[in-house]
């Protein structure tokens, strides 16, 4: 409302004189720019949540330091610093990193940026990312933790996570190998006791058996989890299991945590950006309801509206994303019941599109045979969203769709990296947090492309 009045005042004052009008504007809106929507949220308005274990007041928007701004292959440290400064200034104080992020460079960059601020102004979350055999020994894992402290230039970690439990072909065995057989979980509990870790938790993807087991251990009093990081968004809320039977609906995960009063840290609120790029029909509906809000803000509001959520992580590579997200959370306008219902309805629409649930996290990459897996899936999903899937030959737009699919395919993925070069070695699938059967999906796309190509008319056999 305030903006409307200002604009009206401005128009009225225009007749009176520019000087008077700008003075009026300046008085009313502070640093608002004339005729432009406000990009900048005022500092100090961020919605905060309290971690009942430690009393930490955590900003509801958390910063995922996973895809940091970079120049070529090196991190753009100046930009990281600027963005971290902006974040802290606007109430973002939870920074989530890992020894594995940004090709292993994230912790150092995060450390450099945060070290310029007082230690009590931010919380650091990092992980024990002992995925490779060499770091799964007791010494290897301890060394990884110590390196994290050194890289981050701190002497304690606020939030330490067992990174991505539930993966591997036998998830329980994998968990035991990573944390139990080497005694590292007990070692971490000791570190918490002496104050080098303030909160101990885990992040979960994949096999529900491990998630249930760890919560059972808490019920039995064996281990205490101060927080748990899970994937939560309006698509996964009820459809995760339908999308991939090996995954679990977010509603179940959230309820299990809430039952035990374990604060939930949310990852993938945007599904790797897929919920910022929804089908055109959905965009129109969203814009009709809240014309000034971005598409992404709906997904953030969905995640943040859940009371037991401590913070919602977003991997913000660009300043614009950071500014926009800070605005969404300063303060967060919780979803109304009607809005929530709406999101769960469109989730069904999005589910019915049968996207390949790839979030382009790149964990499967590099494919040893050079396939651009996320690139292929992303093209497929893009065609799916633009309603360009040439699946009905009788359809009058079939030829156009066919051309769009094939031309777009060559544009998105070089020919040597396309699906027909997948050998099916399946080295990728175990790395996929969404548990996609990657070779099977690639083969499906390859068959589609092959059929489209064979359906070339005389004049367009090229594509």
């Amino acid at each position: 409302m305030a903006n409307d009045i200002n604009r009206r005042n401005f128009l009225k004052a225009l007749g009176g004189g520019v000087v008077a009008s700008s003075a009026l504007l300046a008085a009313c809106t502070g640093k608002d720019r004339k005729g432009a929507a406000s990009q900048d949220a005022a500092a100090g308005q961020m919605t905060m949540r309290v971690n009942h274990n430690t009393g930490d007041k955590v900003g509801l928007l958390g910063y995922g330091m996973v895809r940091l701004p970079s120049q070529g292959r090196t991190i753009d440290q100046d930009m990281v610093n600027r963005q971290v400064d902006y974040a802290i200034e606007h109430g973002v104080n939870y920074f989530d990193t890992s020894p594995a992020y940004s090709q292993g460079l994230s912790e150092r960059a995060t450390g450099i940026a945060l070290h310029r601020h007082p230690r009590d102004k931010y919380f650091i979350a990092t992980k024990l990312s002992n995925f490779s055999a060499s770091t799964q020994t007791r010494e290897g894992s301890i060394a990884m933790f110590e390196t994290s402290l050194k890289e981050l230039q701190v002497d304690y970690i606020d939030y330490l996570l067992l990174h991505s439990i539930g993966g591997g072909n036998d998830a329980i065995a994998e968990f035991n190998q990573r944390f139990m057989d080497n005694g590292i979980l007990d070692w971490l509990v000791e570190q918490k006791a002496i104050g080098r870790i303030r909160n101990l938790g885990f992040s979960y993807h994949g096999d529900i058996a491990v998630f249930d087991m760890l919560l059972k251990w808490m019920d039995e009093g064996r281990y205490h989890w101060d927080f748990v990081q899970v994937e939560l968004n309006y698509l996964d809320w009820e459809w995760a299991n339908e999308i991939n039977r090996r995954n679990t609906d977010a509603s179940y995960l959230y309820e299990e945590l809430t039952k035990r009063s374990i604060p939930a840290v949310i990852m993938e609120p945007l599904l790797g950006g897929r919920l910022a790029n929804v089908p055109e029909k959905v965009v129109q509906q969203m814009k009709q309801m809240r014309p000034e809000d971005s598409i992404a803000s709906w997904a953030f509001r969905f995640a943040g509206s859940h009371e037991n959520v401590l913070t919602v992580l977003s991997g913000m590579t660009y300043m614009e994303h950071l500014q926009e997200n800070v605005k969404t959370f300063s303060p967060l306008d919780p979803l109304s019941e009607k809005e929530e219902k709406f999101l769960l309805t469109i989730a069904e629409d999005i589910y019915n599109l049968k996207d390949i649930p790839c979030n382009e996290c790149n964990y499967c990459m590099p494919c040893p045979y050079g396939i651009d897996i996320p690139g292929i899936f992303s093209h497929y999903n893009k065609m799916n969203h633009e309603v360009n899937m040439p699946d009905k030959k009788q359809s009058p737009s079939y030829r156009k769709q066919r051309r769009a699919f094939l031309v777009g395919y060559d544009r998105s993925v070089p020919r040597l990296r396309q699906a027909n070069h997948c050998v099916g070695c399946n080295q990728c699938s175990p790395h996929c947090p969404q548990r996609i059967n990657i070779p099977r999906e690639l083969r499906r796309i390859d068959t589609l492309v092959e059929n489209l190509k064979r359906d070339g008319k005389v004049e367009d056999t090229t594509i």
């Binding site: 045979y369 050079g370 050998v423």
Partner: protein, 494 residues
């Protein structure tokens, strides 16, 4: 009037035939393919008697208009010559009979003895084809790629970008040298090439001497001012003797336009006997140095392009370029019937190569088959929905072939090279060859017969293989595929 008609028809034919070479989408060939098929030498090689007879009759009636409005190399020379605005720059020179007939004799001999490279070098339409394919195509494709980039920016699928690559360095060099020599000759003396070297020109000149319609000089009106001679790009008007050498006249009509006294006419009245003129030497040109420089510059720029291609992306494994295997018998495209047929008839115009959408066809560097097409599967394979090369070939070297016939034409057979095969080398599952074989000729068989779940390797049924190269192209083994196609000298129907 004659000149205007000539220019209009020539412009239309030239545009169509050039577009035929440039259009990589394969659309234009559907309605302009005939422009290649009415060329004299290709029609002769294709034993297309109707076209050959029609062209001879045409020449017997109108003189060598073929050279002015049908032959793209002739039209190209007129274009280059017309860029020079200097008037009255030509002069009469007597016919170089010994040179013309010597070249023709060599040409006929080469044709009979199968010295194909010489035939290809002298064939005028093919020379133009090589120039269009090697020099114009890259420019056209670059323009297309700019449009494709713009289209991509605006989310349109109207244009798609294509790879620009030199198919064969020898052919490229030949095209450059041919172009430079002919361009210089045309710039200096108009139709020198057509009237001294071109074998087709010489053959047609036999008929043109007796043509019904001719340029004739009206002795009553002529003041022997010499303006006609000075504007005759064929140097065939001997104004002093009021004679025209009809064996060289390409009926361009420039003389008619330039005569101030209405003394020249293109009519059907009988002519006086042409007189023999003493021979003169051909003006020699030093083109070697320039060719060398152009060649070096182009070679250098292509090396730069190759380096730029080898960019590595962060999260993507480097993919080695595939190397062609040493095939005992080269692969010839479906429709060519046999290596011998292709060799005998092909004049190396490169039309099939410019039309191949899969990057399969390229010109040979072997001296015996120089510049003639052969196939290789590093960048793509001979896809089942395409028979473009067979539909455009004007000489019958590659004969028209339906898609159904193509799918049962065996041009070669696949050979498995176990030492490269990744189930054996990397110990991973593969089977990409079997998955992509359109003929179903490959089956994956467990290495350990007792264990059905053990890794599988491909087993070939040569009888079903058509040699399309899908297996070779999609094989992940690099730089040498673990399965490759060996050509057959004579194609079989399966």
């Amino acid at each position: 009037m004659l000149k205007k008609t000539r220019i209009t028809i020539a412009a239309a034919v030239m545009t169509l035939i050039t577009l035929l070479f440039l259009d990589f989408t394969g659309t234009i060939r559907c309605w302009a393919g005939w422009t290649a098929k009415i060329q004299f030498l290709p029609a002769l090689l294709a034993l297309n008697i109707v076209v050959v007879a029609a062209l001879i009759v045409l020449t017997l009636i109108f003189g060598r208009i073929y050279c002015s409005v049908v032959c793209p190399l002739g039209i190209m020379q007129d274009l280059i010559s017309s860029l020079r605005k200097k008037k009255n720059r030509f002069s009469f020179s007597p016919e170089k009979k010994w040179l013309r007939y010597a070249v023709l004799a060599v040409f006929v001999l080469a044709l009979i003895l199968g010295v194909h490279a010489l035939v290809a070098l002298l064939a005028p339409y093919s020379s133009y084809g090589r120039i269009a394919q090697n020099l114009l195509c890259p420019v056209y494709e670059a323009g297309n790629n700019v449009l494709a980039a713009i289209a991509k920016h605006y989310g349109s699928y109207a244009f798609y970008s294509v790879d620009i690559w030199i198919r064969g360095i020898a052919t490229f060099a030949v095209a450059v040298v041919t172009f430079v020599i002919i361009a210089i000759l045309a710039w200096r003396n108009g139709r020198t090439y057509c009237n001294t070297i071109c074998p087709v020109g010489t053959i047609l000149s036999f008929f043109a001497r007796f043509s019904w319609m001719k340029i004739r000089i009206d002795a009553d009106k002529c003041r022997t001012c010499g303006k006609c001679s000075r504007n005759c790009k064929a140097s065939c008007i001997d104004f002093k003797n009021m004679k025209v050498d009809y064996s060289r006249c390409v009926v361009c009509g420039n003389c008619l336009e330039n005569c101030s006294f209405d003394a020249l006419h293109y009519t059907r009245r009988p002519a006086a006997k042409p007189a023999e003129a003493p021979a003169e030497t051909v003006p020699a040109t030093d083109t070697g140095r320039r060719n060398f420089l152009v060649g070096t510059a182009l070679a250098a720029s292509s090396t730069l392009l190759a380096q730029e291609d080898k960019k590595v992306d962060g999260g993507l494994a480097v993919i080695l370029d595939k190397q062609p295997p040493e095939r005992t018998t080269p692969l010839t495209p479906p429709g060519s019937i046999s290596a011998a047929n292709l060799h005998r008839r092909c004049t190396a115009c490169q039309l099939c190569i410019s039309q191949c959408p899969n990057g399969v066809l390229r010109p040979s560097t072997d001296l015996m088959t120089l510049m003639q097409p052969f196939m290789s599967y590093e960048d793509g394979y001979c896809r089942p929905e395409c028979n473009r090369c067979s539909s455009v070939c004007p000489t019958g070297a590659i004969q028209p072939l339906s898609l159904a016939d193509k799918s049962s034409t065996q041009i070669g057979h696949a050979v498995w090279v176990g030492k490269n095969c990744i189930p054996l080398v990397d110990r991973v599952e593969c089977g990409n060859c079997a998955r992509h074989c359109p003929a179903g000729a490959i089956e994956m068989v467990p290495m350990n017969q007792a264990d059905r779940n053990s890794l599988k390797y491909p087993v070939l049924n040569e009888a079903r293989c058509i040699g399309c190269g899908a297996c070779e192209y999609v094989c992940p083994a690099r730089p040498f595929s673990a399965i490759y196609v060996e050509g057959h000298e004579v194609h079989k129907t399966i």
